[in-house]
Symmetry: D2
Subunit: 383 residues, 4 copies
């Protein structure tokens, strides 16, 4: 990975000022493999925070912006302007910047979910990016090596025909009502900033995306029961969904922000007529693989019988030495760097796209509608 003599890509960032969580994660991810230099930013809508944050990150004074429109214009005009931008604002502030930069010919790396409404997502998908600017949606869990290996195993037929998919993502950090001071909590529980989904948008989409990424199955319809357990909370904090995939596979998805004792318990279990796979994000360097009638095998990241994806492209250090969340995130960044440089053929089909973003929004909207209709099975194609 990286370290191959290629020039670093000049990167900008929208959002991610002091105190932000995911902006920091994106910056670390951009540094790990050495493919990017952060040189510009509209890090906050508050000018003072934007200034201070930019200075702390070592940005030149004239490249600390307070509006993304201004940043897009100015950077597009500079000979040394940014080549790519990371959008790490709350959901409702994805669409505007993404449009502005794509139309300015600047590659976009955008946090998930892609937008706060399905309409915005569809409009974004119809934009004609200038100069073929590319788009990456950071469904970061797809960067885990064993998730890539799981995808390979399914595609290879090692599991046979997929029958059952169990995806879940329980957390407990919103078990109690949160004060407005909690920056991470407040926008995620606010429909104006998050969109129509709470837990389903924040973490349910991750679990859903992961299931889709690994299995390759298309979703037919969902039957959902979304709940808001905490008094006064406007958005769902617990998500129960049954899934029907095209071709007959069935699934369940559970996401929760009120499951006491769960931190980031993202888990994916897939069962076909020949084999099964089980993986957990909180110990991501291991995955169970069982061929029917044989003992369970514990696959390790980059260990014995790794497929091509896992052993070659996505692993930094030997098995037994754990890699984690930041490395998986960095893998998206460095492989997108290869795509930007025109050298990304190997990553075809591995990096989440605009289309994945639109489908994620369909999943959210269909689930919310189903829940409002007392669990009526709702087709993704009809929302």
């Amino acid at each position: 990975m990286a370290e191959n003599g290629a020039k670093r890509i000049r990167l900008g960032m929208v959002g991610g000022g002091t105190g932000a969580f995911i902006g920091y994660v994106h910056r670390v991810a951009s540094r790990i493999d050495g493919d990017y230099d952060l040189v510009a930013g509209a890090l906050s809508s508050r000018p003072d925070v934007a200034q201070e944050s930019g200075r702390n990150l070592g940005l030149a004074e004239d490249r600390i912006y307070t509006s993304y429109e201004q940043m897009a214009r100015a950077e597009a005009a500079r000979p040394d302007g940014i080549e790519a931008v990371s959008i790490v604002t709350p959901n409702h502030m994805h669409y505007g910047p993404a449009k502005a930069f794509l139309e300015a010919g600047i590659h976009v790396i955008c946090d998930k979910p892609i937008t706060s409404t399905l309409e915005d997502a569809r409009k974004l998908a119809e934009i004609k990016p200038k100069n073929g600017a590319k788009f990456l949606l950071t469904h970061n869990y797809t960067g885990y090596p064993l998730i890539r290996q799981a995808k390979e195993l399914v595609a290879s037929g090692a599991l046979g025909n997929i029958r059952v998919v169990q995806a879940e993502y329980p957390q407990d950090w919103l078990t109690e009502a949160t004060s407005d001071d909690n920056k991470q909590a407040s926008w995620r529980t606010d429909p104006a900033r998050s969109g129509a989904g709470g837990a389903i948008g924040d973490i349910g989409t991750h679990a859903y995306n992961l299931a889709r990424f690994v299995t390759g199955l298309k979703t037919d319809a969902v039957s959902a029961d979304l709940t808001s357990f905490v008094a006064g909370r406007q958005l769902d904090d617990n998500v129960h969904i049954m899934l029907r995939f095209e071709g007959g596979a069935k699934g369940m998805l559970w996401a929760s922000q009120v499951a006491v004792g769960c931190e980031n318990g993202l888990q994916l279990r897939i069962y076909g007529d020949k084999g099964g796979l089980e993986w957990r994000q909180d110990n991501p360097n291991y995955m169970w693989f069982t061929e029917f009638g044989k003992p369970k095998q514990l696959l390790t990241r980059g260990g014995a019988i790794s497929g091509n994806a896992a052993s070659t492209m996505n692993v930094r250090i030997p098995s037994g030495h754990p890699e984690g969340y930041l490395e998986a995130f960095a893998t998206l960044y460095s492989q997108f760097a290869a795509v930007i440089r025109g050298d990304g053929a190997a990553y075809e089909g591995l990096l989440p796209t605009l289309a994945d973003g639109v489908e994620g929004m369909q999943f959210i909207v269909a689930s919310v509608q189903s829940s409002q209709n007392d669990g009526k099975w709702t087709k993704l194609s009809e929302v």
Copy 2:
């Protein structure tokens, strides 16, 4: 437990001839604590098998029967006749014997589900047993000490108000079509002998019962998607259900006989507004308990902070030395022995009853109906 000088209870058995699985389990369970002596049996409807099985078990020749009616009559008439009987036949053969023995004044220990139809279950519940004969339904997983402790913890308020209940029971032994030679498989996949439910009746009811036992919550309604994945199979082999409990708690239940790599993966996870519990049957001597905002604690069977139930009544050997499935089963037997002897006050509310059996049938029927109605939420009280 036992070893207290009380006389052994004279026990009979219906079903459980050579080659049967659950009959053997019942016999071991009856022996572990020394509370029963098996002295009579109608072990098979095939006379030769009944004879051979009875002899192998050391039954006297005149107490090896080939019909349960005959056995009920004869034993009730003997001064040394059986005091209790274990019914371990396929589901459709529970009702007849249960009725016969209860009406003969003989205590009944009956495998689950209670019957093959809800009608039979209700008729059974209306029988007036002679001499106050008692009934035990062997939902054996309720005998695990940590399940008892879980029930105590919930009742004590340690979890606060229950919000989310995730129950599952995946297996993989019916992943492929089975031959008629497979005695265990053939009746379980035959509607005439199992009833309307396949996986839901065989293992789904266990998961359901366990959730109900521990939480004490009443079920309002279910929304189900039952599937038969194996070509030609008449009953469901995969069960996806969403649950609504009275008072607002929500749940999911997954049971499967086609989840490759799962043996008997019964798991129960319960989350309230103050705490959470997580338990797995395949390593039943441990249970996670988390108080919100504190580290997860690993409770052990009979270990530190055990409640009364777990530490005193239901544990045979010190923590760290595992007890298993057979001991949990035996706990039902020995505590029912205390009930029979009139000394069972301590077990009030802990031993599964006729009413639990009827409700289990309601759960099966409501789930089957919901699935037939495309997942319509179906109230248990309306089936």
Copy 3:
């Protein structure tokens, strides 16, 4: 297992009165498979306890004894006298009863370690039992199905030449000084009743025996560092030993009664030049098996690729339903029953013998001597 029409063996017990731990365990083990009936006992040296205990266990008045000598004589003289006896007294009280019953022609089941001194063990080994009476030493962990399977795997060459053996048995129950009231603790920490070893005799011998049982390797020498951490304790409560086996394999053994957080953490790990095995007693239904260069496999009790021993002879219920400590113990009882009936050929080499007992004492004595000589390598053959 059992249930085969064979008559129950008439069993007596020495020790095991009210409040005793291991006597209770032996009784449960004798009942599980239905091969024994307890009919006589010298359950305590205190007549009142002996009487009360015997009555609670349903023994006939004339078969409740207060001396083992009297019991041996009386039972040997009865036509319906006991055929076998379980000796479950503290270590220093093993030799006398074992000798008495063997010389009376009554089979002996004896708890471990075999005696409190090596001299006693050797004298016992030289006794000529009357009528070929047999001897079983209850190194109960050897009864776990996966330990039997581990032995088979090693013997089959699946691990290649064994190089490294890591055995350990940490507990924490003696972390603090114990009062005299603690019956289990007091004799185990008293040299007069335990012998020269504390933790090494109580649990170190179990770990040692297990390593020997599975690998079949002969021990050449030990280098030991025994410690007594608790002030005033006369015997070791922590055991560090390095092992050299004949043929060049090396090992380490750790046993402790002061390892806070460990309950009965018996663990065995074996590495050869082709493969490795890892097993823990606190979750005994699973074992790791790795062939060099391949993924780790999780073997389950009675599951896929079980060898003959594990799948056929030693398993009661299907994989995924856990069996535990009592079942493993019961396996020794029921297989010894087969030996007693002259039908035990299949268990040749599986049931711990007098010779194993003598060697266990050599291990204790050599370790104590080595520790006294500042860790000098000490050959077992020279003590």
Copy 4:
């Protein structure tokens, strides 16, 4: 961490050319928190490899060196010369570069073990660095947040007086003889390049250092049994050591490169008279903590009840999102950056020093001597 507006430190590297493992790790570690820019290197003793490697890393042509002496001179003379250097050569090539750069006033980050001989280590410790140049020894496992928290817990008295320390580091990658082509294996099994220790120097020192780091106990003496299992191998590939600490604590250390099924199974278990701790490197975001008589608690990185070190200084992302080996390594780099900038008071006592390096060599030498003397207890102070 980082991102605080401080200028990046100009970094050089000795060793770490194409194909090297640990050099790559150091580079990633230097990038993660953004505290360093790699600008110079003597990446290989082979000029062609040095050139190609330097170019791939984007070094300016005139800062690609083929000798470390030349690099030290040239960089010390440049106004924009490197401020720090990473030494990532085989062990025997640590001393020379470390001396050269320290004497040139350039901070040194050196891989472990510090040198290949104790003599070199002692000479290095006596050097007077120019301008107060600092030294960091990359015992990288000390950078894991929970290891820092373990150290805090021990220091706080939460475990009471430490009694028993069990450290181990099993691997299996040298189970078979390796070809000379295996660059990683060949120097590690060559006394001329590794020094007198094989597994003990490569991984045993890590386990030892970790035990010392967390407990703060001083080692009195070791009794060792080192083995080379693979025919023709000149250095030990399996290490069995008993440890005696000052004050009476005892320990065991096992390191192996032939333990089939173990990848990087570094494990540390510590038991005091009040509590116990258990941690494994292959799932480093979790640690068991038990207070005597209470249930085991699973501490998580940055989770509930984290101490100051773990929760504030050493954690990048929320608990439940795993960090790994590279982040722990990066923590040493970024905290050393603070030290270089004169802002490192908070890391006092946390970053491995020259003195730790010398003691590590004493541990190796004492163990080798003990093993040569048939396990004689050997004091570290006497080698």
